[in-house]
Point group: C2
Chain length 346, copies 2
């Protein structure tokens, strides 16, 4: 399959070979060529070989357009991604794409910074016209997947971080238990006043992390307090870190690493040391997390696995193997230096 040093389109443009060219060269009908190409049975081995040789000789490659026209299939997936270049989503997108490549599927990507329903619908409509066989939604915004699900497509749909929904498969890490583990770690260090710096309200992941935090606190008869609702960005973490009321607190669980970084920076500016005065735990384990000061204790998500799981889930839906167990990984706690033993709350 791998051809070296080929003039893909030479000046004389010898017109890409068609199925008929191959048929003529092999001395068979075009239909037989089609059978060979599609690996259908009932072709005599000797004929098959002859056809394969002709294919190789002519460098024949079937036209996806012609194929799509008649089969209404395209071996193509549509991917909708909303939000900016945050580490988590963009990693997931990247690995989803890589997995698709490995599986020899093509993917159309529609990136949009907002998650305006009509933009999303527009993107889906464009995908539909292209005969995509499935749609994946990787969105930080809760509504996005529901918008697509609400279109009641006949093609499978898989979404990252969305509420379970009829006809909508969701894949992702277990944010809830990841968050509980984070909080449990804090409790084990002796902390009792553990606040939360939440992620955006329209993010299911953010809400799951908050719920995990709240439940773990509840299970230990501890009070819950949210010090702010950020937008995942370091600057939002910084903003809340500057302004929030820290009384009674010895630890803060931030909804992601980037906000942790902003938060720590603001805390330092207020004369508070981390973790001596305040323990901070993040979420995601971005590459920088190990190298900021102090190195961040966090909960690692494996975005590569998530992206690949999304693809394989979608592909199995496309192949009709519906309702298999949906993959869900458990994020793991990474202990570094931003958490420490609790001191008496100030």
């Amino acid at each position: 399959m791998s051809l070296d040093k080929v003039d893909y389109v030479t000046e004389e443009a010898p017109r890409q070979a068609t199925i008929f060219d191959v048929a003529r060269l092999a001395g068979v009908s075009h239909q037989t060529v089609s059978r060979v190409v599609n690996d259908l049975p009932n072709v005599r081995p000797s004929t098959r070989v002859r056809v394969e040789e002709a294919i190789k000789k002519l460098r024949y490659v079937p036209s996806p357009a012609a194929r799509a026209l008649v089969t209404r299939r395209s071996r193509t997936i549509g991917l909708i991604a909303t939000g900016g270049p945050e580490y988590g989503p963009s990693s997931t997108v990247l690995y989803f794409n890589a997995a698709a490549r490995d599986a020899r599927w093509s993917v159309f990507t529609a990136n949009m910074t907002d998650s305006d329903p009509s933009s999303i619908r527009g993107a889906v409509e464009a995908f539909l016209r292209q005969n995509v066989e499935g749609i994946a939604v990787i969105s930080g915004h809760e509504g996005s997947a529901d918008v697509v699900a609400g279109m009641e497509l006949t093609i499978p749909l898989v979404a990252l971080e969305a509420t379970p929904h009829a006809g909508l498969a969701t894949v992702g890490a277990d944010q809830y238990n990841g968050a509980r583990n984070a909080v449990r770690h804090l409790i084990e260090l002796g902390h009792r006043g553990i606040a939360h710096l939440a992620g955006p309200a329209d993010s299911v992941d953010a809400r799951e992390r908050e719920r995990g935090w709240r439940d773990e606190l509840g299970a230990n008869d501890l009070a819950a307090r949210v010090i702010g609702i950020g937008d995942w960005s370091p600057s939002s973490g910084h903003r809340f870190g500057e302004a929030c009321d820290l009384s009674g607190l010895t630890a803060i669980f931030a909804a992601n690493d980037q906000m942790s970084i902003g938060l720590i920076h603001a805390l330092n500016a207020r004369g508070l040391a981390v973790p001596a005065d305040m323990s901070i735990i993040g979420f995601d384990d971005i590459p920088e997390a190990a190298y900021v000061s102090p190195p961040l204790t966090t909960v690692r998500q494996d975005f590569e696995t998530i992206g690949r799981d999304m693809l394989s889930t979608l592909l199995s839906r496309i192949n009709g193997e519906s309702a298999t167990e949906l993959p869900q990984s458990l994020p793991t706690l990474i202990e570094r230096a931003s958490t420490g033993l609790a001191r008496r709350a100030s």
Copy 2:
């Protein structure tokens, strides 16, 4: 164009309308419908209106497959992205995609973590089969764009960060002058021993930044010393920060922010304060840069502009408007707190 609450594919599957359905309803020939759809002249206004109404009523949308089959055009672009989820490239990919959406073009993305020539060729071949009308390469690896360029395609090609090459348009920020500005800033602060923590050797951007650093130093009769060649990651910055010889140095220009972060962390561990003992300047201005300790002085690249410029360059090539001036923006210096006045070198 925006339809609300539509059953995109109802259970009875009333077969997506074709051009003939529209023609029948409007009482014209399919060819006239085609003219209206493609906005060709010589259609009586009243006829045009009638056809447009029929289109709207039937929710007719032309089939890209059929169109591509006959025109051999697809209004589709192939995007090749190599490397992992680093901030710069993934942002560029994202904004490229967003710009394409705005222009109503579809884009196939082929993401690969490596930049193996045969993978790249494979991706290009797949794109060609899909009748893409142009290819964009966003790669951290130098060879990538050249591999594609070497295939001598007849469709336009645009690449980020690549050496100028026949038939290859490159778009990007002016890494060289950005780097010179960074170094000049250091010199203005009184630094004389200014080392460089370089990016990977196979990256043109990395080499341009190094060249800028070297030339600015040379222009001021200062000696140049590279303390390491990293891979853009914080951990590589950290590694070199731990081991390098710092004698005679009061400042280090790191090839990107992430390596700066790792570097600073290692320096701190060696008992060196930034910027008191050593000034550090990075490149890119990632969102975290302002919130690490100390906030990073860096050179900001506008990835959104780069991504959008890549798209518009590619589109204008596709439309035959060749050889327009290639956009190149100048990254801007962002002064924060990781650089300070030079002390006497140790």
